[in-house]
Symmetry: C2
Subunit: 219 residues, 2 copies
């Protein structure tokens, strides 16, 4: 499948690289066509990797993945263009974090979420929130951690969530680790969890190689 | 030890009962001295259980546990009285949830937390936030769930957190399951996690017998 990956930061590069690894054609999009990080990534990732503007990458992708910083996501998607997102699965992995107050806070939470904002802004896109609850190395290599641990999906379109589950499985996520929380409004829960994730990361001296496993009663 | 448990709801009754079971003297406090739920609980829980007003219970306890609804906690603690809380470990298990908007939201989050509000209001109390990330049956019988799963503690006073860890261990929590997140400001993370907890509970058809285990890289 052809993927458009929006964003040239660590999350975008890691996810775009993994998508190429598992057999997809990937175009990385950024604000400008000559972004150095995107060009370097495409050169290293081989013949199935390319780069362009947000609009180029969204037009190229049959599926689009939003890997921009949460505070920049709505602008990036506007640059990508509604016509390049319509009807497509739009995988949103972003978190709307800010350190402006000297401490991590979310720019949207509790009564709304970035996932919902994106779905409202692009009603013809099929938004699925996922992978936003962990560090990027755990996203693409869940086997780095021992035993089972969980990844969440939120979205209004059941078929889109099934497709995303397939992508997660191709990254190495066992089907029983994938938890469907329901509609896109449940992105509130996974986005708000980020505050606890940051606290756990800080309490462990900065180590990002962890995740949570949802444990239920046996039987 | 003598415990004052504030609140007569399910969480208060379950925790007060478990404290009696593991060998403590417990007084349950409520707004009025003749609260029926508190009287019934004390009658059933035996000779080491009693009940009274919020102030009675706080005065009785060497340690005080806030099990009131989050939205009522500051009023309940005001009724308990600063003089009855000063110098004591104050274990806060409350979550400030409301369904007023037709959907669960928090009445405080992101830039503040109930745990911090309580610590600010009672600077001489030694507030420890814990157990607020799970249903009450899991709180007191962690062995209900298979394998390891996690409980968090947040508080500014290291000795108070050690004492609380001892209480948790007496309930059956293995020491390696107890995660110290840091100061009381980290109550933000565990309180905000409640939204994801509710979503997981709803996605599983209302089943509350689950928790999360923090999984880290082996080695």
């Amino acid at each position: 499948m052809r993927y458009g990956v929006l964003g040239t930061g660590a999350v975008g590069r890691v996810l775009a690289g993994r998508l190429v690894e598992v057999g997809h054609d990937v175009q990385m999009g950024s604000r400008t066509a000559d972004n150095e990080a995107a060009a370097a990534w495409a050169a290293e990732a081989g013949p199935n990797a390319s780069h362009g503007t947000f609009a180029d990458a969204a037009a190229f992708g049959q599926t689009v993945m939003n890997c921009t910083a949460g505070g920049a996501s709505l602008d990036a998607l506007a640059a990508a263009g509604a016509e390049n997102l319509a009807g497509k699965v739009l995988i949103d992995v972003a978190n709307a974090l800010t350190f402006e107050t000297g401490r991590l806070t979310l720019t949207v939470c509790n009564t709304d979420s970035l996932g919902e904002q994106i779905q409202r802004a692009y009603p013809d896109a099929r938004v699925v929130k996922t992978l936003n609850t962990m560090g990027n190395e755990v996203m693409i290599h869940p086997e780095r951690l021992p035993g089972l641990h969980s990844v969440f999906v939120s979205g209004d379109d059941a078929e889109a969530k099934q497709q995303v589950a397939g992508v997660l499985e191709s990254f190495g996520w066992p089907p029983e680790s994938i938890i469907d929380l329901g509609g896109i409004a449940t992105a509130r829960g996974t986005e708000m969890y980020l505050v606890l994730w940051i606290e756990m990361m800080q309490a462990a001296g900065g180590d990002r190689h962890f995740n949570i496993n949802v444990v239920r009663e046996a039987g």
